[in-house]
């Protein structure tokens, strides 16, 4: 299953997606528990964003006030130099018709190309495994993961447990002791 990217999920959580993207995201969410959890996490994060303004090391409020003032200054300057001709409506005339036609063609091509493909096999639930680079063992579920690493270890012995565990055993180069890292999703 192809998941929407993080930006799409974040925008959706804030209600900032366009109509087509919102429709596609809702359709995905209706059958993806993992992304619904992500959306909920973003919504929780949005609720704590005001607290970031309280970070003592960075004067966020002052920065925000300065940026707002600069934006207002820019808008005021723009109003001063705008001519009557520039105030003509942008949605009339031949050029606008061509632009709308192009956008419609682009949307149609996008829908055609993005037609739902056969769903690829993907692990559901929790996975316990050695990390692909061999630097540790991990359990992961969706976009969450916990890794126990064995940096600088040589001759690591990995053993899986059918109850849902993974074990990495190695000799610590500094101490000479056997160290056994175990993750167990049971």
């Amino acid at each position: 299953m192809r998941h929407p990217n993080q930006a799409t999920l974040a925008l959706h959580a804030g209600g900032d997606l366009g109509a087509m993207a919102r429709w596609r995201t809702l359709r995905h969410l209706s059958r993806c528990e993992q992304c619904r959890v992500e959306i909920a996490a973003y919504e929780r994060m949005r609720s704590v964003l005001p607290d970031l303004a309280e970070t003592p090391e960075i004067p966020w409020n002052r920065l925000a006030a300065e940026m707002t003032a600069n934006i207002r200054l820019g808008l005021a300057a723009g109003e001063c130099v705008r001519t009557a001709a520039e105030r003509r409506s942008p949605v009339t005339g031949f050029r606008a018709a061509v632009a709308f036609a192009s956008i419609a063609a682009l949307v149609a091509a996008g829908i055609t190309l993005e037609r739902p493909a056969p769903v690829a096999s993907e692990a559901a639930g929790i996975v316990a495994e050695a990390t692909p680079g061999g630097a540790g063992i991990q359990m992961r579920e969706g976009r969450q993961a916990l890794l126990l690493m064995h940096p600088d270890a040589r001759s690591v012995t990995f053993t899986a447990g059918a109850q849902g565990s993974m074990e990495a055993r190695y000799v610590d180069r500094e101490t000479g002791y056997i160290t056994v890292n175990t993750i167990d999703v049971d």
Binding site: L49, A123, A128, G142, A160, Y177, T182
Partner: protein, 381 residues
């Protein structure tokens, strides 16, 4: 929405994004909690070094890199041979039972020893306040096989089994030394290292959750286990099967019978698989559930609902056969049985199974410090 309101929203969003991107900072004090009970046989010496541990934001994910160095002291009057620390992160909601065990120790009373824990947590949203990682003691095994600890991870059984394998392998090497001298011991160590480098390895992923089907896999079939028997095993493996499709195997089920005179409360089997070329690999251990109680003469089924996905060097390893053997038995009185050296060698399992923890330690000692250091080490036990 008014233009004024829109710009406010834009400014807040920009500032929030900047704040998230800027969160790459050292670990806050209190992010790691290490607690040992007051009557614990080990104590934490000095503070906890978190080195260059950091919390950072990568896009929408938050990552905690933890590099923890502790110095522990044996405060008991007994020599410590092994211990297990439980490592818990409440922040990673998938939970799990994670641990770091040290084995091959020979720590006398009042002696100190180092422990390192290297871990990484990833999650997609803000972390709450409080400790991100809790480290506590699950158990300590002493030289006389006595044990101290809450044992929530069954560390007593695990550490005791390792100790029994260690005693078995040290006794074997001491016999070799006594009968064939240092040169005989050297040959055995070279054989052990050669066997380990030639041992076929698999990459195994254990999947726990809803069954996964894939059009890329062959149709699922039932694969019967061939049973490897040890004459002195208190448990007889009667037969069993697993569901197999391509390189995935799931839901192993093995019938066992207690042929000893004592009740058994734990059984673990080793699960071997064979690829189309006939090469055998150790796929996984198959432990019985914790609630097992098997009186003398009775049978029970050892089964798990997980799936294994097998690869080697990134390529699927299709399963053409499976076999199993009894690898660990715990009686109701807590005593353990593990296969003897003769059991392993008589079934050629010694070529397929990894070395015991102690054999791995002694191999490393021989490689790094030589034969004399190995002989000296054997005399310490």
């Amino acid at each position: 929405m008014s233009i004024k309101g829109g710009y406010r929203l834009w400014a807040v969003s920009a500032l929030a994004s900047a704040a998230l991107l800027a969160q790459d900072q050292p670990l806050a004090p209190g992010a790691v909690s290490i607690k040992f009970p007051t009557d614990s046989p080990i104590a934490l010496l000095g503070g906890v070094s978190t080195g260059d541990s950091r919390v950072s934001a990568r896009g929408a994910a938050l990552i905690l890199d933890l590099h923890l160095a502790l110095t522990l002291q044996n405060t008991s009057g007994n020599r410590i041979h092994g211990l297990t620390l439980r490592v818990v992160s409440q922040e990673v909601t998938l939970g799990g039972k994670n641990s770091v065990s040290l084995f091959g120790l020979n720590i006398g009373p009042r002696e100190a020893f180092p422990v390192r824990i290297e871990m990484r947590l990833m999650r997609p949203s803000q972390m709450a306040g409080g400790a991100l990682v809790d480290v506590n003691l699950d158990g300590v095994l002493f030289q006389d096989l006595s044990f101290w600890g809450p044992d929530r991870l069954n560390s007593r059984r695990t550490l005791t089994a390792w100790e029994m394998q260690a005693q078995r392998d040290r006794a074997y090497l001491k016999r070799v030394l006594a009968q064939a001298g240092p040169e005989g011991l050297r040959r055995v160590m070279i054989d052990s290292l050669a066997r380990e480098s030639a041992r076929p390895l698999l990459d195994v992923a254990v999947l726990r959750g809803p069954a996964v089907t894939s059009a890329a896999l062959a149709a699922e079939r039932t694969e019967q286990f061939a049973m490897l028997e040890f004459p002195d095993s208190p448990i007889e493996a009667l037969g069993g099967w697993a569901r197999v499709a391509g390189n995935e195997a799931r839901a192993p089920r093995i019938e066992v019978r207690n042929r000893s005179a004592q009740a058994v409360r734990f059984v673990e089997l080793g699960w071997l698989v064979r690829d189309p070329s006939g090469q055998q690999y150790l796929a996984a251990s198959v432990p019985a559930p914790d609630a097992l109680y098997l009186p003398a003469g009775k049978t029970a089924s050892v089964e798990q609902e997980t799936a294994l996905r097998l690869t080697r060097n990134g390529q699927q390893v299709n399963i053409k056969g499976a076999s199993a053997f009894v690898s660990k038995v715990q009686f109701a009185d807590g005593k353990l049985w593990v296969p003897s050296r003769q059991d392993l060698e008589s079934t050629a399992l010694v070529k397929v199974l990894p070395p015991s923890a102690e054999e791995q330690r002694l191999d490393s000692l021989y490689l790094t410090k030589g034969l004399n250091a190995l002989v000296e080490e054997l005399t310490k036990f």
